[in-house]
Protein backbone atom coordinates (compact mmCIF):
# COMPACT_ATOMS: atom_id res chain seq x y z
CA UNK A 1 0.00 0.00 0.00
CA UNK A 2 2.95 2.29 0.66
CA UNK A 3 4.06 2.12 -2.95
CA UNK A 4 0.81 2.06 -4.90
CA UNK A 5 -0.12 5.58 -3.91
CA UNK A 6 -1.18 7.53 -6.97
CA UNK A 7 -2.82 10.83 -6.28
CA UNK A 8 -4.07 12.41 -9.48
CA UNK A 9 -4.85 16.02 -10.20
CA UNK A 10 -8.51 14.97 -10.44
CA UNK A 11 -8.33 13.55 -6.88
CA UNK A 12 -6.87 16.79 -5.59
CA UNK A 13 -9.50 18.84 -7.41
CA UNK A 14 -12.21 16.65 -5.88
CA UNK A 15 -10.86 17.06 -2.33
CA UNK A 16 -10.52 20.80 -2.96
CA UNK A 17 -14.20 20.98 -3.88
CA UNK A 18 -15.11 19.19 -0.63
CA UNK A 19 -12.99 21.71 1.28
CA UNK A 20 -14.47 24.70 -0.60
CA UNK A 21 -11.12 25.56 -2.14
CA UNK A 22 -10.24 26.07 -5.79
CA UNK A 23 -6.82 25.82 -7.44
CA UNK A 24 -5.69 27.00 -10.85
CA UNK A 25 -3.71 24.59 -13.07
CA UNK A 26 -0.29 25.61 -11.71
CA UNK A 27 -1.44 25.32 -8.13
CA UNK A 28 -3.10 21.99 -8.86
CA UNK A 29 0.16 20.68 -10.28
CA UNK A 30 2.15 21.86 -7.25
CA UNK A 31 -0.35 20.67 -4.64
CA UNK A 32 -0.75 17.25 -6.29
CA UNK A 33 3.00 16.64 -6.02
CA UNK A 34 3.21 17.91 -2.45
CA UNK A 35 0.15 16.02 -1.26
CA UNK A 36 1.50 12.87 -2.89
CA UNK A 37 4.74 13.32 -0.86
CA UNK A 38 2.76 13.89 2.34
CA UNK A 39 0.54 10.85 1.69
CA UNK A 40 3.69 8.76 1.10
CA UNK A 41 5.02 9.98 4.45
CA UNK A 42 1.81 9.23 6.36
CA UNK A 43 1.51 5.82 4.70
CA UNK A 44 4.47 4.69 6.83
CA UNK A 45 1.79 4.18 9.52
CA UNK A 46 0.92 0.95 7.70
CA UNK A 47 4.12 -0.53 9.13
CA UNK A 48 2.56 -0.36 12.61
CA UNK A 49 0.38 -3.26 13.74
CA UNK A 50 -2.79 -1.70 15.14
CA UNK A 51 -5.02 -4.77 15.27
CA UNK A 52 -7.36 -4.50 18.26
CA UNK A 53 -5.86 -1.14 19.31
CA UNK A 54 -8.43 1.38 20.50
CA UNK A 55 -8.12 4.75 18.77
CA UNK A 56 -7.41 7.83 20.91
CA UNK A 57 -9.34 10.91 19.86
CA UNK A 58 -8.76 12.91 23.02
CA UNK A 59 -6.36 12.49 25.93
CA UNK A 60 -8.54 13.88 28.69
CA UNK A 61 -10.79 11.74 30.83
CA UNK A 62 -13.19 14.66 30.86
CA UNK A 63 -16.28 13.69 28.88
CA UNK A 64 -18.57 16.64 28.98
CA UNK A 65 -19.45 19.53 31.20
CA UNK A 66 -23.08 20.54 31.38
CA UNK A 67 -24.44 23.86 32.59
CA UNK A 68 -27.87 24.84 33.80
CA UNK A 69 -30.21 25.55 30.91
CA UNK A 70 -30.59 29.22 31.67
CA UNK A 71 -30.61 31.95 29.07
CA UNK A 72 -27.72 34.41 29.41
CA UNK A 73 -26.92 37.54 27.47
CA UNK A 74 -23.83 36.92 25.34
CA UNK A 75 -22.49 39.81 23.36
CA UNK A 76 -24.52 42.66 21.98
CA UNK A 77 -25.69 42.75 18.39
CA UNK A 78 -23.73 45.80 17.29
CA UNK A 79 -20.46 44.37 18.53
CA UNK A 80 -21.20 41.03 16.88
CA UNK A 81 -21.98 42.71 13.58
CA UNK A 82 -18.94 44.97 13.68
CA UNK A 83 -16.72 42.26 12.20
CA UNK A 84 -19.15 41.20 9.48
CA UNK A 85 -17.94 42.06 5.97
CA UNK A 86 -21.32 43.48 4.89
CA UNK A 87 -24.39 44.41 6.95
CA UNK A 88 -27.70 46.12 6.41
CA UNK A 89 -30.33 47.14 8.99
CA UNK A 90 -28.84 44.94 11.67
CA UNK A 91 -28.51 41.90 9.42
CA UNK A 92 -25.52 40.28 7.73
CA UNK A 93 -25.79 40.84 4.00
CA UNK A 94 -24.77 38.06 1.62
CA UNK A 95 -25.01 37.67 -2.16
CA UNK A 96 -28.03 35.94 -3.63
CA UNK A 97 -27.98 32.21 -2.99
CA UNK A 98 -29.44 31.29 -6.36
CA UNK A 99 -27.49 32.45 -9.40
CA UNK A 100 -30.59 33.48 -11.34
CA UNK A 101 -32.00 35.84 -8.69
CA UNK A 102 -31.19 39.46 -9.30
CA UNK A 103 -31.28 41.09 -5.90
CA UNK A 104 -30.28 39.88 -2.48
Amino acid sequence: MTTENNITKADVAHVASLAKLKFNDNELEKFTGQIEDIIDMVNTLNEVDTDNVKPTFNVTDQFNRMREDVAVRSGDKEALLANAPDTENGFIRVPAILDESEEA
Binding site: V12, V15, A16, L18, A19, K20, L21, K22, F23, F31, Q34, I35, D37, I38, I39, D40, M41, V42, N43, T44, L45, N46, E47, V48, T50, V53, K54, P55, T56, F57, N58, V59, T60, Q62, N64, R65, R67, G75, A79, L80, A82, N83, A84, P85, D86, I92, V94, P95, A96, I97, L98, D99
Partner: protein
Protein backbone atom coordinates in the same frame (compact mmCIF):
# COMPACT_ATOMS: atom_id res chain seq x y z
CA UNK B 1 15.51 48.81 28.02
CA UNK B 2 16.62 45.18 27.69
CA UNK B 3 15.41 42.33 29.89
CA UNK B 4 18.54 40.18 29.53
CA UNK B 5 19.65 40.16 33.15
CA UNK B 6 16.54 40.67 35.21
CA UNK B 7 13.88 38.33 36.54
CA UNK B 8 10.19 39.15 36.89
CA UNK B 9 10.50 39.24 40.69
CA UNK B 10 13.47 41.64 40.48
CA UNK B 11 11.59 43.87 38.08
CA UNK B 12 8.59 43.72 40.41
CA UNK B 13 10.81 44.85 43.31
CA UNK B 14 11.92 47.89 41.28
CA UNK B 15 8.27 48.80 40.72
CA UNK B 16 7.44 48.31 44.40
CA UNK B 17 10.46 50.42 45.43
CA UNK B 18 9.40 53.08 42.90
CA UNK B 19 12.79 52.91 41.19
CA UNK B 20 10.72 52.69 38.06
CA UNK B 21 7.10 53.54 37.31
CA UNK B 22 4.91 51.24 35.25
CA UNK B 23 4.57 54.02 32.70
CA UNK B 24 8.35 54.29 32.35
CA UNK B 25 8.68 50.54 32.08
CA UNK B 26 5.96 50.21 29.46
CA UNK B 27 7.10 53.22 27.50
CA UNK B 28 10.73 52.01 27.35
CA UNK B 29 9.57 48.52 26.40
CA UNK B 30 7.45 49.94 23.57
CA UNK B 31 10.32 52.10 22.30
CA UNK B 32 12.65 49.11 22.22
CA UNK B 33 10.11 46.84 20.51
CA UNK B 34 9.32 49.49 17.90
CA UNK B 35 13.02 50.15 17.25
CA UNK B 36 13.74 46.45 16.65
CA UNK B 37 10.51 45.70 14.76
CA UNK B 38 12.13 46.83 11.48
CA UNK B 39 14.83 44.16 11.73
CA UNK B 40 12.99 41.40 13.58
CA UNK B 41 9.36 41.78 12.39
CA UNK B 42 8.31 39.90 15.51
CA UNK B 43 5.03 41.78 16.09
CA UNK B 44 1.87 42.02 14.03
CA UNK B 45 0.27 44.63 16.31
CA UNK B 46 1.98 46.82 18.89
CA UNK B 47 -0.51 47.92 21.54
CA UNK B 48 1.02 51.32 22.31
CA UNK B 49 -1.95 53.51 23.21
CA UNK B 50 -3.83 50.98 25.27
CA UNK B 51 -0.70 49.68 27.05
CA UNK B 52 0.29 53.20 28.11
CA UNK B 53 -3.16 54.06 29.41
CA UNK B 54 -3.26 50.78 31.35
CA UNK B 55 0.18 51.60 32.76
CA UNK B 56 -1.05 54.96 33.96
CA UNK B 57 -4.03 53.33 35.67
CA UNK B 58 -1.77 50.91 37.52
CA UNK B 59 0.62 53.69 38.55
CA UNK B 60 -2.35 55.59 39.99
CA UNK B 61 -3.68 52.53 41.76
CA UNK B 62 -0.24 51.52 43.10
CA UNK B 63 1.66 48.23 42.85
CA UNK B 64 0.36 45.34 44.92
CA UNK B 65 3.53 44.00 46.61
CA UNK B 66 2.06 40.48 46.65
CA UNK B 67 1.38 40.37 42.90
CA UNK B 68 4.69 40.05 41.05
CA UNK B 69 2.94 40.49 37.70
CA UNK B 70 1.41 43.90 38.48
CA UNK B 71 2.35 46.30 35.69
CA UNK B 72 4.62 43.83 33.87
CA UNK B 73 4.30 44.09 30.09
CA UNK B 74 4.10 40.81 28.17
CA UNK B 75 3.62 39.83 24.54
CA UNK B 76 0.82 37.55 23.34
CA UNK B 77 0.80 35.34 20.26
CA UNK B 78 -1.64 36.61 17.67
CA UNK B 79 -3.87 33.52 17.74
CA UNK B 80 -5.00 34.33 21.30
CA UNK B 81 -7.91 36.72 21.10
CA UNK B 82 -7.89 40.09 22.80
CA UNK B 83 -10.99 42.24 23.11
CA UNK B 84 -10.71 45.41 21.05
CA UNK B 85 -7.18 44.54 19.88
CA UNK B 86 -6.76 43.23 16.35
CA UNK B 87 -6.12 39.47 16.26
CA UNK B 88 -5.17 37.92 12.93
CA UNK B 89 -3.61 34.47 13.49
CA UNK B 90 -1.17 35.85 10.89
CA UNK B 91 -3.76 35.22 8.17
CA UNK B 92 -5.20 37.44 5.48
CA UNK B 93 -8.48 35.74 6.48
CA UNK B 94 -8.48 37.64 9.79
CA UNK B 95 -6.46 40.65 8.64
CA UNK B 96 -9.06 43.07 9.99
CA UNK B 97 -10.55 41.04 12.80
CA UNK B 98 -11.11 42.75 16.16
CA UNK B 99 -12.38 40.31 18.80
CA UNK B 100 -15.33 41.26 20.96
CA UNK B 101 -14.21 39.22 23.96
CA UNK B 102 -10.97 38.11 25.64
CA UNK B 103 -9.47 34.64 25.76
CA UNK B 104 -9.57 33.19 29.27
CA UNK B 105 -5.76 33.47 29.57
CA UNK B 106 -5.99 37.15 28.65
CA UNK B 107 -8.69 37.72 31.28
CA UNK B 108 -6.42 36.05 33.83
CA UNK B 109 -3.41 38.16 32.83
CA UNK B 110 -5.50 41.30 33.12
CA UNK B 111 -6.87 40.23 36.49
CA UNK B 112 -3.21 40.29 37.60
CA UNK B 113 -2.65 43.75 36.07
CA UNK B 114 -0.37 42.35 33.37
CA UNK B 115 -0.09 44.71 30.41
CA UNK B 116 -0.50 43.27 26.91
CA UNK B 117 2.29 44.99 24.99
CA UNK B 118 1.38 43.59 21.58
CA UNK B 119 0.48 40.62 19.43
CA UNK B 120 3.30 38.55 18.03
CA UNK B 121 3.97 37.18 14.57
CA UNK B 122 3.49 33.46 13.92
CA UNK B 123 2.92 30.91 11.21
CA UNK B 124 -0.54 31.36 9.69
CA UNK B 125 -3.09 29.72 12.03
CA UNK B 126 -0.04 28.25 13.85
CA UNK B 127 0.64 25.91 10.92
CA UNK B 128 4.35 25.85 10.31
CA UNK B 129 7.65 25.64 12.11
CA UNK B 130 9.46 28.76 10.95
CA UNK B 131 7.07 31.76 11.06
CA UNK B 132 7.54 31.94 7.29
CA UNK B 133 3.89 31.10 6.54
CA UNK B 134 2.73 34.36 8.17
CA UNK B 135 0.76 36.66 5.86
CA UNK B 136 2.69 39.51 7.52
CA UNK B 137 6.21 38.50 6.52
CA UNK B 138 9.07 36.49 8.04
CA UNK B 139 10.34 37.00 11.57
CA UNK B 140 14.13 37.05 11.96
CA UNK B 141 16.09 35.11 14.55
CA UNK B 142 17.83 37.59 16.89
CA UNK B 143 20.98 35.42 16.93
CA UNK B 144 21.34 35.57 13.16
CA UNK B 145 18.92 37.65 11.13
CA UNK B 146 19.28 35.38 8.09
CA UNK B 147 17.83 32.47 10.06
CA UNK B 148 14.30 31.50 11.05
CA UNK B 149 13.26 31.87 14.70
CA UNK B 150 11.32 28.62 14.46
CA UNK B 151 7.59 28.47 14.82
CA UNK B 152 4.84 28.68 14.96
CA UNK B 153 5.32 30.93 18.04
CA UNK B 154 8.31 32.61 16.33
CA UNK B 155 7.39 36.19 17.21
CA UNK B 156 6.90 35.40 20.91
CA UNK B 157 10.23 33.54 21.01
CA UNK B 158 12.00 36.37 19.19
CA UNK B 159 10.81 39.23 21.39
CA UNK B 160 11.89 37.32 24.53
CA UNK B 161 15.19 36.20 22.99
CA UNK B 162 15.99 39.76 21.87
CA UNK B 163 15.42 40.98 25.43
CA UNK B 164 12.47 43.14 24.40
CA UNK B 165 9.77 41.31 26.34
CA UNK B 166 10.36 39.68 29.70
CA UNK B 167 7.74 37.04 28.90
CA UNK B 168 5.33 36.01 26.19
CA UNK B 169 2.52 33.56 25.58
CA UNK B 170 2.70 31.06 22.76
CA UNK B 171 0.71 28.02 21.72
CA UNK B 172 1.98 24.53 21.01
CA UNK B 173 0.16 21.98 18.82
CA UNK B 174 3.17 19.95 17.63
CA UNK B 175 6.11 21.84 19.13
CA UNK B 176 5.21 25.45 18.39
CA UNK B 177 6.43 26.75 21.76
CA UNK B 178 9.36 24.39 22.40
CA UNK B 179 10.96 24.42 18.95
CA UNK B 180 11.19 28.24 18.62
CA UNK B 181 12.37 28.35 22.25
CA UNK B 182 15.17 25.98 21.22
CA UNK B 183 16.04 28.00 18.08
CA UNK B 184 16.19 31.31 19.99
CA UNK B 185 17.72 30.17 23.29
CA UNK B 186 14.86 30.73 25.74
CA UNK B 187 12.64 28.70 28.07
CA UNK B 188 9.36 27.51 26.54
CA UNK B 189 6.79 25.27 28.19
CA UNK B 190 3.87 23.33 26.79
CA UNK B 191 1.84 22.39 29.88
CA UNK B 192 -0.27 19.25 30.19
CA UNK B 193 -3.26 19.19 27.84
CA UNK B 194 -6.12 20.61 29.88
CA UNK B 195 -3.94 22.68 32.24
CA UNK B 196 -4.83 25.95 30.55
CA UNK B 197 -8.15 26.92 29.03
CA UNK B 198 -8.18 27.03 25.24
CA UNK B 199 -11.19 29.38 25.28
CA UNK B 200 -10.24 32.20 22.94
CA UNK B 201 -7.31 30.37 21.35
CA UNK B 202 -8.06 30.28 17.63
CA UNK B 203 -8.45 26.54 17.10
CA UNK B 204 -6.03 24.51 15.00
CA UNK B 205 -5.92 20.91 16.32
CA UNK B 206 -8.26 20.93 19.27
CA UNK B 207 -7.06 17.67 20.84
CA UNK B 208 -3.44 18.89 20.65
CA UNK B 209 -3.45 22.70 21.12
CA UNK B 210 -2.17 24.11 24.38
CA UNK B 211 -1.19 27.65 25.40
CA UNK B 212 2.06 28.07 27.34
CA UNK B 213 4.61 30.54 28.73
CA UNK B 214 7.85 31.64 27.03
CA UNK B 215 10.45 33.34 29.23
CA UNK B 216 14.16 33.86 29.84
CA UNK B 217 14.27 31.73 32.99
CA UNK B 218 12.67 28.64 34.47
CA UNK B 219 11.51 30.57 37.54
CA UNK B 220 9.72 33.23 35.46
CA UNK B 221 8.15 30.50 33.40
CA UNK B 222 6.62 28.74 36.41
CA UNK B 223 5.45 32.10 37.76
CA UNK B 224 3.60 32.86 34.53
CA UNK B 225 2.00 29.40 34.41
CA UNK B 226 0.82 29.99 37.98
CA UNK B 227 -1.48 32.83 36.93
CA UNK B 228 -2.94 31.34 33.73
CA UNK B 229 -3.59 27.68 34.65
CA UNK B 230 -6.77 26.15 35.98
CA UNK B 231 -10.31 25.08 35.28
CA UNK B 232 -12.48 27.15 32.98
CA UNK B 233 -16.15 26.31 32.54
CA UNK B 234 -15.96 27.60 28.97
CA UNK B 235 -13.49 24.93 27.83
CA UNK B 236 -14.82 21.46 28.51
CA UNK B 237 -11.34 19.97 28.06
CA UNK B 238 -9.84 22.20 30.74
CA UNK B 239 -8.96 20.14 33.77
CA UNK B 240 -10.48 20.47 37.22
CA UNK B 241 -7.25 19.19 38.79
CA UNK B 242 -5.96 21.42 41.53
CA UNK B 243 -3.41 24.00 40.39
CA UNK B 244 -0.26 23.74 42.52
CA UNK B 245 2.46 26.37 42.89
CA UNK B 246 4.45 25.30 39.84
CA UNK B 247 7.61 26.75 41.38
CA UNK B 248 7.25 24.72 44.59
CA UNK B 249 10.09 22.31 43.76
CA UNK B 250 12.43 24.88 42.20
CA UNK B 251 15.67 24.91 44.19
CA UNK B 252 15.31 21.33 45.42
CA UNK B 253 18.14 19.05 44.36
CA UNK B 254 17.60 16.27 41.84
CA UNK B 255 19.68 13.58 43.56
CA UNK B 256 18.31 10.16 42.72
CA UNK B 257 15.82 11.49 40.19
CA UNK B 258 15.30 8.89 37.46
CA UNK B 259 15.50 10.26 33.93
CA UNK B 260 14.99 8.29 30.72
CA UNK B 261 16.90 9.15 27.54
CA UNK B 262 15.09 7.63 24.53
CA UNK B 263 17.57 6.10 22.11
CA UNK B 264 15.26 7.17 19.26
CA UNK B 265 15.81 10.83 20.26
CA UNK B 266 19.52 10.53 19.57
CA UNK B 267 19.09 8.40 16.45
CA UNK B 268 18.99 8.90 12.73
CA UNK B 269 18.20 12.38 11.44
CA UNK B 270 19.49 14.18 14.52
CA UNK B 271 22.42 16.53 13.90
CA UNK B 272 25.65 15.12 15.41
CA UNK B 273 26.53 18.46 17.02
CA UNK B 274 23.06 18.61 18.62
CA UNK B 275 23.57 15.08 19.97
CA UNK B 276 26.88 16.22 21.51
CA UNK B 277 25.13 19.14 23.26
CA UNK B 278 22.56 16.75 24.70
CA UNK B 279 25.24 14.28 25.84
CA UNK B 280 26.88 17.14 27.74
CA UNK B 281 23.52 18.02 29.29
CA UNK B 282 23.16 14.39 30.38
CA UNK B 283 26.57 14.72 32.07
CA UNK B 284 25.45 17.88 33.89
CA UNK B 285 22.30 16.15 35.17
CA UNK B 286 24.32 13.09 36.20
CA UNK B 287 26.79 15.30 38.06
CA UNK B 288 23.80 16.79 39.90
CA UNK B 289 22.91 13.31 41.10
CA UNK B 290 20.20 12.31 38.64
CA UNK B 291 20.23 8.78 37.25
CA UNK B 292 20.00 9.03 33.47
CA UNK B 293 19.40 5.78 31.61
CA UNK B 294 18.75 4.88 28.01
CA UNK B 295 15.15 3.91 27.34
CA UNK B 296 13.07 3.32 24.22
CA UNK B 297 9.95 4.96 22.80
CA UNK B 298 9.66 2.50 19.91
CA UNK B 299 6.69 4.10 18.15
CA UNK B 300 7.87 7.73 18.46
CA UNK B 301 9.17 7.74 14.88
CA UNK B 302 5.56 7.39 13.68
CA UNK B 303 4.50 10.48 15.61
CA UNK B 304 4.96 12.87 12.69
CA UNK B 305 2.79 10.80 10.35
CA UNK B 306 0.05 10.33 12.97
CA UNK B 307 0.20 14.01 13.89
CA UNK B 308 -0.14 15.31 10.35
CA UNK B 309 -3.29 13.25 9.88
CA UNK B 310 -4.85 14.06 13.25
CA UNK B 311 -3.82 17.72 13.37
CA UNK B 312 -4.81 18.35 9.76
CA UNK B 313 -8.14 16.55 10.16
CA UNK B 314 -9.01 18.64 13.18
CA UNK B 315 -7.81 21.77 11.37
CA UNK B 316 -9.91 21.04 8.28
CA UNK B 317 -12.96 20.86 10.54
CA UNK B 318 -12.04 23.87 12.70
CA UNK B 319 -11.28 26.09 9.72
CA UNK B 320 -14.66 25.46 8.09
CA UNK B 321 -15.90 28.40 10.13
CA UNK B 322 -13.99 30.77 7.85
CA UNK B 323 -16.68 31.18 5.24
CA UNK B 324 -16.66 34.91 4.51
CA UNK B 325 -20.08 35.48 6.05
CA UNK B 326 -19.95 36.60 9.67
CA UNK B 327 -16.43 37.96 10.16
CA UNK B 328 -13.05 38.07 8.50
CA UNK B 329 -12.16 38.39 4.85
CA UNK B 330 -14.77 38.17 2.09
CA UNK B 331 -13.70 38.00 -1.55
CA UNK B 332 -14.92 40.72 -3.92
CA UNK B 333 -16.94 40.12 -7.01
CA UNK B 334 -18.84 37.09 -5.80
CA UNK B 335 -22.02 36.04 -7.56
CA UNK B 336 -23.40 33.26 -5.38
CA UNK B 337 -23.12 31.81 -1.92
CA UNK B 338 -20.87 29.02 -3.22
CA UNK B 339 -18.67 31.75 -4.68
CA UNK B 340 -18.48 33.50 -1.30
CA UNK B 341 -17.16 30.31 0.29
CA UNK B 342 -14.78 29.16 -2.42
CA UNK B 343 -13.31 32.52 -3.46
CA UNK B 344 -13.03 33.75 0.12
CA UNK B 345 -11.22 30.64 1.30
CA UNK B 346 -9.02 30.34 -1.78
CA UNK B 347 -7.91 33.98 -1.48
CA UNK B 348 -7.90 34.20 2.32
CA UNK B 349 -5.78 31.15 3.23
CA UNK B 350 -2.09 30.71 2.43
CA UNK B 351 -0.55 27.57 0.92
CA UNK B 352 0.45 25.78 4.13
CA UNK B 353 -3.03 26.19 5.59
CA UNK B 354 -4.52 24.91 2.33
CA UNK B 355 -2.21 21.88 2.38
CA UNK B 356 -3.37 20.97 5.88
CA UNK B 357 -7.03 21.52 5.04
CA UNK B 358 -6.58 19.30 1.97
CA UNK B 359 -4.79 16.52 3.88
CA UNK B 360 -7.39 16.66 6.65
CA UNK B 361 -10.33 16.65 4.26
CA UNK B 362 -8.79 13.71 2.42
CA UNK B 363 -8.13 11.78 5.66
CA UNK B 364 -11.70 12.23 6.81
CA UNK B 365 -13.38 11.64 3.45
CA UNK B 366 -15.49 8.59 2.65
CA UNK B 367 -13.25 5.61 1.92
CA UNK B 368 -10.19 7.13 3.63
CA UNK B 369 -11.35 7.46 7.22
CA UNK B 370 -10.30 3.96 8.38
CA UNK B 371 -7.01 3.95 6.49
CA UNK B 372 -5.96 7.40 7.67
CA UNK B 373 -7.81 9.10 10.53
CA UNK B 374 -8.63 5.97 12.50
CA UNK B 375 -5.22 4.41 11.83
CA UNK B 376 -3.49 7.56 13.09
CA UNK B 377 -5.68 7.60 16.20
CA UNK B 378 -4.68 3.97 16.89
CA UNK B 379 -0.99 4.77 16.49
CA UNK B 380 -1.58 7.65 18.90
CA UNK B 381 -2.74 5.11 21.50
CA UNK B 382 0.47 3.10 21.02
CA UNK B 383 2.62 6.23 21.38
CA UNK B 384 0.80 7.02 24.65
CA UNK B 385 1.38 3.44 25.82
CA UNK B 386 5.12 3.80 25.12
CA UNK B 387 5.27 6.89 27.36
CA UNK B 388 3.18 5.24 30.09
CA UNK B 389 5.49 2.28 30.19
CA UNK B 390 8.59 4.46 30.60
CA UNK B 391 6.92 6.61 33.26
CA UNK B 392 6.29 3.52 35.39
CA UNK B 393 10.02 3.59 36.16
CA UNK B 394 11.19 7.14 35.41
CA UNK B 395 10.32 10.63 36.68
CA UNK B 396 11.22 12.47 33.49
CA UNK B 397 12.27 11.90 29.89
CA UNK B 398 14.90 14.11 28.23
CA UNK B 399 16.25 14.62 24.74
CA UNK B 400 16.87 17.34 22.18
CA UNK B 401 13.95 19.66 21.38
CA UNK B 402 14.71 19.82 17.67
CA UNK B 403 16.97 17.77 15.35
CA UNK B 404 18.98 20.84 14.26
CA UNK B 405 19.57 24.47 15.23
CA UNK B 406 17.73 27.22 13.34
CA UNK B 407 18.16 27.07 9.55
CA UNK B 408 18.27 29.77 6.87
CA UNK B 409 15.09 31.65 5.99
CA UNK B 410 13.68 30.21 2.75
CA UNK B 411 15.63 26.95 2.94
CA UNK B 412 12.71 24.60 3.52
CA UNK B 413 9.65 26.62 2.67
CA UNK B 414 8.79 24.67 -0.52
CA UNK B 415 9.52 21.27 0.94
CA UNK B 416 6.73 20.50 3.42
CA UNK B 417 7.75 16.93 4.25
CA UNK B 418 11.31 17.96 5.23
CA UNK B 419 9.92 20.83 7.28
CA UNK B 420 7.47 18.46 9.02
CA UNK B 421 10.32 16.23 10.21
CA UNK B 422 11.72 19.13 12.30
CA UNK B 423 8.90 18.37 14.73
CA UNK B 424 9.75 14.70 15.18
CA UNK B 425 10.96 15.20 18.78
CA UNK B 426 8.18 17.50 19.96
CA UNK B 427 5.08 15.94 18.36
CA UNK B 428 4.83 12.75 20.50
CA UNK B 429 4.34 14.96 23.58
CA UNK B 430 1.29 16.64 22.01
CA UNK B 431 -0.18 13.33 20.91
CA UNK B 432 0.11 12.10 24.50
CA UNK B 433 -0.97 15.40 26.11
CA UNK B 434 2.15 15.56 28.29
CA UNK B 435 3.87 18.63 29.76
CA UNK B 436 7.30 19.45 28.30
CA UNK B 437 9.88 22.21 28.39
CA UNK B 438 12.70 23.40 26.17
CA UNK B 439 15.53 25.27 27.84
CA UNK B 440 18.94 26.53 26.67
CA UNK B 441 21.53 23.73 26.70
CA UNK B 442 24.33 24.93 24.46
CA UNK B 443 25.28 26.23 21.03
CA UNK B 444 26.14 24.83 17.60
CA UNK B 445 27.93 27.27 15.30
CA UNK B 446 26.76 30.18 17.42
CA UNK B 447 23.09 29.15 17.34
CA UNK B 448 21.23 28.01 20.47
CA UNK B 449 20.22 24.41 21.08
CA UNK B 450 17.47 23.39 23.50
CA UNK B 451 17.19 20.50 25.93
CA UNK B 452 13.69 19.03 26.12
CA UNK B 453 12.36 17.79 29.47
CA UNK B 454 9.15 15.74 29.35
CA UNK B 455 7.12 14.97 32.48
CA UNK B 456 4.13 12.86 33.50
CA UNK B 457 0.68 14.38 33.01
CA UNK B 458 0.07 17.21 35.49
CA UNK B 459 3.58 16.91 36.95
CA UNK B 460 4.93 20.23 35.70
CA UNK B 461 6.50 20.77 39.13
CA UNK B 462 9.09 18.01 38.63
CA UNK B 463 9.82 19.32 35.13
CA UNK B 464 10.47 22.81 36.55
CA UNK B 465 12.57 21.32 39.37
CA UNK B 466 14.93 19.55 36.94
CA UNK B 467 14.95 22.52 34.55
CA UNK B 468 15.89 24.93 37.35
CA UNK B 469 18.65 22.61 38.60
CA UNK B 470 20.11 22.37 35.09
CA UNK B 471 19.82 26.13 34.59
CA UNK B 472 21.61 26.83 37.88
CA UNK B 473 24.47 24.49 36.95
CA UNK B 474 25.01 26.06 33.52
CA UNK B 475 25.31 29.55 32.05
CA UNK B 476 23.67 29.09 28.64
CA UNK B 477 20.58 31.07 29.72
CA UNK B 478 22.78 34.08 30.51
CA UNK B 479 24.04 34.34 26.96
CA UNK B 480 22.03 36.50 24.65
CA UNK B 481 22.17 37.78 21.09
CA UNK B 482 23.96 41.04 20.51
CA UNK B 483 21.17 43.55 20.33
CA UNK B 484 21.57 47.28 20.69
CA UNK B 485 20.04 48.70 23.86
CA UNK B 486 18.08 51.67 22.55
Amino acid sequence: MKFFDISVSELHQKLVDKELTVTELVSQTLDQIEADQKVLNDFITINRTDALSKAKEIDEKGIDPDNIWAGIPIAVKDNIITKGLKTTAASKMLGNFTPIYDATVVERLQAHDVIIIGKTNMDEFAMGGSTETSFFGDTHNPWDHTKVPGGSSGGSATTVSAGNSIAALGSDTGGSIRQPASYTGIVGVKPTYGRISRYGLIAFGSSLDQIGPMTRSVEDNAALLNIIAGLDERDLTSSDKEVPDFASKIGKDIKGMKIGLPKEYLGEGIDEAVKAVIQEAVQVLTDLGAVVEEISLPRSNYGVAAYYIIGSSEASSNLQRFDGIRYGYRADDVKSLEDVYVKTRSEGFGDEVKRRIMLGTYSLSAGSYDAYFKKAAQVRTLIINDFNQVFENYDLIIGPTAPTPAYAIGAEVDDPTTMYMNDILTIPVNLAGLPAMSLPAGFVDGMPVGLQIIAKPFDEETMYQAGAAFEKATDFHQKHPEMEDK
